[in-house]
C-alpha cells in the first residue's frame, strides 16, 4: 500500500532490518521445540524467565497479551521492551508466544 517510509531507510538501516528479521526466522526454526515448551509453561504459570546472552528475559501475560522485560543486573531492575496481543484461541496464543520468544531473543542478541 505505502512503502515510502520503509523505502526511505538508508542502506545500512535496511541491512540491519534484514539481519534482524533473518535472525528471528533462524531462531524460530532452530528453537521451535524449546519455544513450544516455554509457551506452554508461560500459559500455565502466567510468567516465564530465561537467560540469554547474560540478560534475563521475563515474559508475563498481561491485558490479553504478552509483555517482555529485560534485566542486565540479574533481575533487580527490569526494562519493559514490548507488549503484543495474543488472540483468543489456545493454538493462536501458542503460535504468537513462540513468535514473541524469537523476536525478543533476536533483540537481545543484536542489542536492539
Amino acid at each position: 500500500m505505502n512503502n515510502e517510509v520503509e523505502n526511505s531507510l538508508t542502506p545500512e538501516e535496511l541491512e540491519e532490518e534484514r539481519t534482524y528479521f533473518q535472525l528471528i526466522y533462524d531462531l524460530e526454526v532452530k528453537n521451535h521445540s524449546r519455544y513450544e515448551t516455554q509457551a506452554e509453561l508461560l500459559m500455565k504459570n502466567g510468567e516465564f524467565s530465561i537467560t540469554i546472552n547474560n540478560s534475563l528475559l521475563l515474559y508475563t501475560l498481561e491485558d490479553g497479551g504478552c509483555s517482555f522485560r529485560v534485566s542486565t543486573d540479574g533481575g533487580f531492575d527490569y526494562c519493559k521492551l514490548g507488549w503484543s496481543s495474543l488472540g483468543r484461541r489456545k493454538h493462536e496464543k501458542l503460535k504468537r508466544l513462540m513468535e514473541e520468544f524469537a523476536e525478543s531473543e533476536a533483540r537481545t542478541i543484536l542489542n536492539r
Binding site: M1, N2, V5, S8, I24, W83, R112
Partner: protein, 153 residues
Amino acid sequence: MALSAALLAVIPLIFSTPSSAATARPKAPKASCRIEIGNAHLSTHLREARGFNAVKVNAVSICNVPQSNVKLTVQIYKVGLFRDYLISEKYTNPLRPTSSGLRVENQGTFKRCTSNRKSSFYGVAFAEATIAGQKFAAPPARSLRIVPLDCGT
C-alpha cells in the same frame, strides 16, 4: 533516514533549558525536538525474508541537542467497529547506546498478519528522554493516515 513529509505526523516540541537571568552565563541553546511517525504499512522485508506479511510502523525522535536515555514507544492500533484495538507496542531500550544522540529510531514495531482480511491500521508514538540533565516527555504523535491493508491480525 529521510522520512517523507507527506507521510508523517510531526509533533514539534520546544524545550527551554534552565537559565538564570541574574547570572551573566551565556544562554544555553533552546532544545527543539520532535517525533516523526510514519503510516502503517506492510513490511516488504518480512515478506521477502519470511514469506509472510506484517503490518509495521516506524518512528524517530529528533532533537537539535543530544538526547539520552530515550524510551521511544511505538504502538500499532487496529480500527474496530466500536473502538480501536492496540495490537502491539514496542519500546526502545533507554540503556542501549542507540537510544542516545540527535536521532533515536524505533523500527522494530510490527505485528504479523494471520490472514489477508482487510483491516485498517495506524500508529501512535511518544517518548521520554533526558535533555541537558532534565527529563522530558513528548506527547503522543499519531500517523497522518489510517491505512487499509490486506492484513488480518
